[in-house]
Symmetry: C3
Subunit: 427 residues, 3 copies
């Protein structure tokens, strides 16, 4: 994963343009990816697909012709969606077009202006202070013209038409955690899913943030509402500090229940954020009338770590270990979704576990209390509780319960209940 991340890192991505296409092309080397292009001007709910932005070069040069701010060194130097410019400016006139962070003087900030025409440069505050009065040559060799918004999707069918939605953003330029960690991990999740039997179908989306999820929703809303039983938006998954999620509006969906089961078992600290602290595409997936059961999963959450949206969000912040942890978190969520079944005991009363070799035949002191988890599973397998519910009651991890449930199913003491038959009478 780290190799892929290093390969994608230098590409200048934005909402639209060649950087997005190039990124999707590289991902498509690993998983089957269908790319869709929506033309500029297409209405998506309250929004309109903007013009396509492409940039070849940009710099500020001093009177000597030396490039003192250079897009080729770091694509964060240019405000995203900058209109073209080519001219000489006094330092004073230039200042209105410069962005830097006083409180982080070494960081180049990440700035965009997608929906208002502007041009600008971002630079470290320390560099900005060094600028001397005088004339500067300013060039942005970009164009904003009718084109397309591009996204990629990978559909992996499973036994059921019911789907798990996995979504991540491919619109950020050279930043590693926000947001190359998401696409890289989702690519690897896709590879892993292709190698596994799948109970559910999977829909993996690589989209530009906000406008991309809105565009996708505007085209697929009915299908998604019909099929998606849980979804995970992947964002900022590559550092080593924390595991986190952003809940759905009422924190009551299957996706919420899954992350709440998974998080406490991951190594290290974890934090559950309320929907009030949302900030990524869960904003669209969970909006009124869309109402998809999608949580955001991440490590250090966007907006909460100091390197966020600056050049410090780089290949030092994201590590192979951090990515592996993020991958493990997402995979575990998917595994829990796959294993979370409703079981029902096949006989009335407790079964005679001794007959199946599951209970000691000799009643030695406290023997009655052995096999507690297995027996608790049987006691609550009444055809209404899914394994996540029983995990909550028994305070045992769902994967331990699932292993026992499959064992009990194998010897005929439990059987799977499909949710749509939950109301059928006990036999």
């Amino acid at each position: 994963m780290y190799d892929l991340l290093q390969k994608l890192f230098p590409i200048c991505r934005s909402l639209t343009g060649q950087g997005v296409r190039e990124t999707l092309g590289i991902i498509a080397d690993h998983i089957p990816l269908r790319q869709t292009e929506l033309p500029t001007g297409t209405k998506v709910f309250d929004w309109t697909i903007p013009r396509e932005w492409n940039i070849r070069d940009a710099f500020i040069a001093n009177a000597d012709g030396r490039r003192i701010v250079d897009f080729r060194q770091n694509n964060l130097h240019v405000v995203g969606y900058s209109v073209p410019v080519d001219g000489w400016f006094s330092l004073e006139a230039l200042q209105d077009h410069l962005y830097s962070l006083e409180e982080q003087p070494e960081a180049i900030p990440y700035v965009t202006s997608y929906y208002a025409e502007r041009w600008g440069f971002c630079l470290a505050h320390r560099e900005r202070l060094k600028l001397q009065p005088g004339q500067y040559r300013v060039v942005i060799d970009s164009d904003l013209s009718d084109g397309y918004l591009t996204y990629g999707e990978c559909l992996l069918p499973g036994e059921s038409q019911q789907e798990i939605l996995l979504s991540t953003d491919i619109c950020h330029p050279s930043m590693a955690n926000n947001e190359l960690s998401g696409p890289v991990i989702l690519t690897w999740i896709g590879r892993w899913l292709m190698s596994e039997p799948r109970r559910y179908s999977y829909r993996l989306l690589f989209i530009p943030e906000t406008i991309g999820s809105l565009a996708y929703l505007s085209q697929h809303l009915d299908t998604l509402k019909e099929r998606v039983i849980a979804g995970f938006n992947l964002s900022c998954l590559g550092d080593e500090r924390l595991y986190s999620c952003v809940s759905t509006p009422y924190a009551n969906t299957l996706a919420d229940r899954i992350v709440n089961q998974v998080l406490p078992h991951l190594e290290g600290r974890h934090q559950v954020y309320s929907f009030l602290e949302r900030g990524s595409d869960e904003r669209q997936y969970c909006s009124p009338g869309v109402d998809l059961p999608v949580v955001s999963v991440g490590r250090s959450k966007y907006g909460t770590y100091p390197e966020y949206h600056t050049s410090l969000d780089n290949l030092d912040l994201v590590t192979p270990k951090g990515l592996a942890g993020g991958f493990g978190y997402v995979r575990r969520c998917i595994e829990v979704a796959e294993m979370n079944r409703i079981y029902r005991a096949t006989c009335l009363g407790e079964p005679q576990l001794g007959r199946y070799g599951l209970y000691p035949t000799l009643n030695i002191k406290r023997g009655a209390f052995s096999m507690a988890t297995l027996r608790n599973l049987l006691a609550y397998a009444d055809g209404t509780n899914d394994l996540l519910a029983i995990a909550g009651i028994t305070q045992k991890p769902v994967w331990e319960l699932s292993e026992l449930a499959r064992k009990l199913e194998g010897i005929g003491l439990l059987r799977v209940v499909e949710p749509d038959s939950m109301t059928r009478a006990m036999v």
Copy 2:
């Protein structure tokens, strides 16, 4: 308000009689008041309208003819509903008819005997101890005879037939907090409501406690059950110590939700009492089968402050500032009822707030987290939450949300959902 309170203070009110009529007459100088008279003997649920009580004079005089307890000095000196008496009594015989408070030796207690024939005098315990053995002339020039129970009501129609019920008691003699603060504030609330556009209709009741609310309910129950969406019983609203409410039996009505929103934002301490600590007309409004959504609103609650039901509940305890605070509390409850609407977002997904000037077009660091309250309002405006619910979720005051909601309604991003159409599908 304080002037009105001073004017009403000396009048000798009781369950019935001229004092009540005189009080209603003065209130009617400020708001349109319809007065109703119910004849003695009328059955109201388990009760019967008692005889009308009127009193002209009463005193205890010593052998020298000097009045040592004098109704003309303080109408609390006579037990309410005392039967007439005129005779000479030894101190010993008189003692059975005297009421005083050992623990508050300077206070004249407030005592009534509405439903059992008695006569009696109330006096400061310190005065009582000064009484010398001997003969005393005792006169109560009262009469108890068939007459009427009188109450006043003021109906202020609004856009909707749905009503807010406001009720207060006019049966207490010269006490300022319990209960002239209620009638005085309700009069001013009436004046204020008359000057405002009203979404709801308002029913203002000035009634004698218990028998008056029962009488009113027995005549208007069906109408009230059909129309009243929230009610407030006003009692003890004029001191400066505290703001409080008494919840409905299950603390789950719109009225409860309103006071729970308003109380924490008032200046100073506040306290929510359970229905188990009720004591005023909420006892009747919330009784089984009546079940109106009526809370009691007050400052220091009846029964909890030392001056309660004594001559110390006077014009020192109630202040202009205290009354203004009580008025502000009730007005704020009404304002919250008026503004508490259900809104629904008009578009799917988040709207493009930048288009409406509601979101920065430049994505500077942490910019994504600006306009949080407005965006949270949109996120939870799903046609099921009223603004009070969203206030609870977002921990923002409902008036801040309401202002934003009207702004968003103005630019077409929200629309009002009438509760009866809440089940219609999202478009």
Copy 3:
């Protein structure tokens, strides 16, 4: 009760056999008991009635013929359901058949092997350590042959066909708390119930643990599911240390509500255990598809006290005072079930309590707050709350409320609502 316990103590009981019959015979001297015998081989759900076990004698003798372990001295010395044996064994060979507790060297453990053929002896670890190498004569004069499983039941009809289920185990040999306290107390409960008017019918079961409750359920499940409104499994009720219960799976049945009301008012400590800590016949009564509202009631719970399942669970551990406390606990649960009615106020508004002598006619200070419990009962008697619910709201014991309710019913201010008419409109 203690006499009965002493009489039953020496009998060698097991799942089946003469000891059970003899025990039931003695209980039948006190209450009418119908005994049922189910033949060996009968299928009961996932189980099969085992062969009947009877034992006449058993011992280990040393080379001198001296009995060093003797069934006649304590029937715990033989592993329950031991197959017959008669032979000479070296100490080494014998060790595989000996059971003792290192951590309780003076206690003979209680061991059974109902469903796997074995023979064995139990002895104090201290005695075991004294055994010298050599040959030992080992005799168990038992037989395991087709026969019957025996249980007793006592049905006490009441006004209603709705039933309270009371169940206890009669399969333990000479141990006093687990489990002679249960049968002895249930016998006395039966005697007491016979002497009382009964609103509900009562079903008292004296059964062998697990297989007995399964057998009974397999024969009576439909009847039980139709009639039982609450049930109590009696186990370990005779010591003086604690009062406890084991809740139903979701801790939400009438039986749970009853024990939660009763426990805090018993003298001494109490503890509520979750269903996860179950261990007696509540395991069967509450199993999926059976779903009877049965809690376990006890004093120190099985498995939690050091004497449990050893010879130390004897007539020192169980005391007359302990049994009396256990009896009182169970009786109080039954009394609460009997008194727990739904009442509805007969008039709208508060009744005029002064008319009934239930309220002071003189309004002296704070007088309005007298009779609070009676008035709270009236305020919440809305035809939906049973007395247990009102006890929860008012934090008053249900028996205090019941006494007031009967008083109010007597003067016509409350009337009983049958649960099936709860939806009828208030008049």
